[in-house]
Symmetry: C2
Subunit: 137 residues, 2 copies
C-alpha cells in the first residue's frame, strides 16, 4: 500500500507535509523525537514549522497511524503503529531496540470489565554491547 493510501485509509488527508513526516517515520528505525523530525525535514520543506510537526504527530497518534513511545527521557518519541511491539532501552548507552517476540498478554481475566485499547511495554536494562564493556564487577 502506498503511503498516501495508508493515510487516506485512516481518514487523514495526505498533504505533502504529512506524507513527508510519514515517510520519515517509515524510514527511521530509531524512534525519532519532534526535534529530530523537524531538523531532518526543514531543509526539504523550508517553511516547515515545529508546530506543524507537533500537530501532525498528534493527528497520526489520534488516527492510530503512529504511536508515542514514552521512554525515561522527558520527550516523546514516535513510531509507526504498524506492528505492535515492546521497547528495550539501555540505561548505559540510551539505545532503544524494538522487541517483537513477547508472549501474548491476555488481559481478559485481569481486566474483565475494561475495554483495552493499547498496551505499551517498556523494558530497561543493559544491552548486549554494553554488557561486554563491563563484564565483571
Amino acid at each position: 500500500m502506498q503511503n498516501d493510501a495508508v493515510l487516506k485509509a485512516h481518514g487523514i488527508k495526505p498533504s505533502l507535509t504529512r506524507m513527508m513526516i510519514f515517510d520519515y517515520l517509515n524510514a527511521a528505525k530509531h524512534h525519532p523525537n519532534v526535534e529530530e523530525i523537524y531538523q531532518a525535514l526543514q531543509p526539504k520543506i523550508p517553511t516547515l514549522s515545529k508546530t506543524t510537526v507537533y500537530n501532525t504527530l498528534h493527528l497520526f497518534t489520534e488516527k492510530r497511524v503512529a504511536r508515542a513511545v514514552m521512554l525515561k527521557d522527558q520527550e516523546n518519541r514516535y513510531d509507526l503503529a504498524s506492528h505492535p511491539h515492546a521497547h528495550f532501552q539501555c540505561t548505559k548507552c540510551g539505545k532503544v531496540e524494538d522487541v517483537f517476540r513477547l508472549p501474548d498478554i491476555h488481559l481478559d481475566q485481569a481486566l474483565p470489565k475494561h475495554s483495552v485499547h493499547d498496551v505499551s511495554v517498556l523494558i530497561s536494562g543493559v544491552c548486549a554491547e554494553c554488557q561486554k564493556d563491563e563484564p565483571l564487577i
Copy 2:
C-alpha cells in the same frame, strides 16, 4: 518492617523529610505527582522545598525504593516499588488502576544477551465505570 528500616535497607539515611515522603507514598493509592506530594506535606513541613521532593524521589528511584510511573500525562507520578505491577489508565476519566494479575513475562528468549532491570507495562482503555456511561454507539 518499619519505614525507617526500609530506607536503611536500601542505603538511604532516614531523615524526617525522607520518611514523610515515604509514608505519603505508602499511604497514597493513586500515584501522586510531585506537586501533590509537595502540597500535602508542606503544611506539616513548613520549610519544605519542591526541590527536596524532586531530590528525594530521584534518590528513592535510584535506590529502587520507588519507581516513576510514566503515564500519557506529561508529568511523572510515583509508586512504591514493593510489588511489581502494571497500570491501567482510563482515557475517559483519567483514573489509574493497579493491575497485579498479569501473566509472567519471560524475557530470556526474547532478550538472551540483555540484562533486564525493569519492565513497565501501561495499559490504556476505558474503565468499567466509564463503560456504563456510554454502553452503545
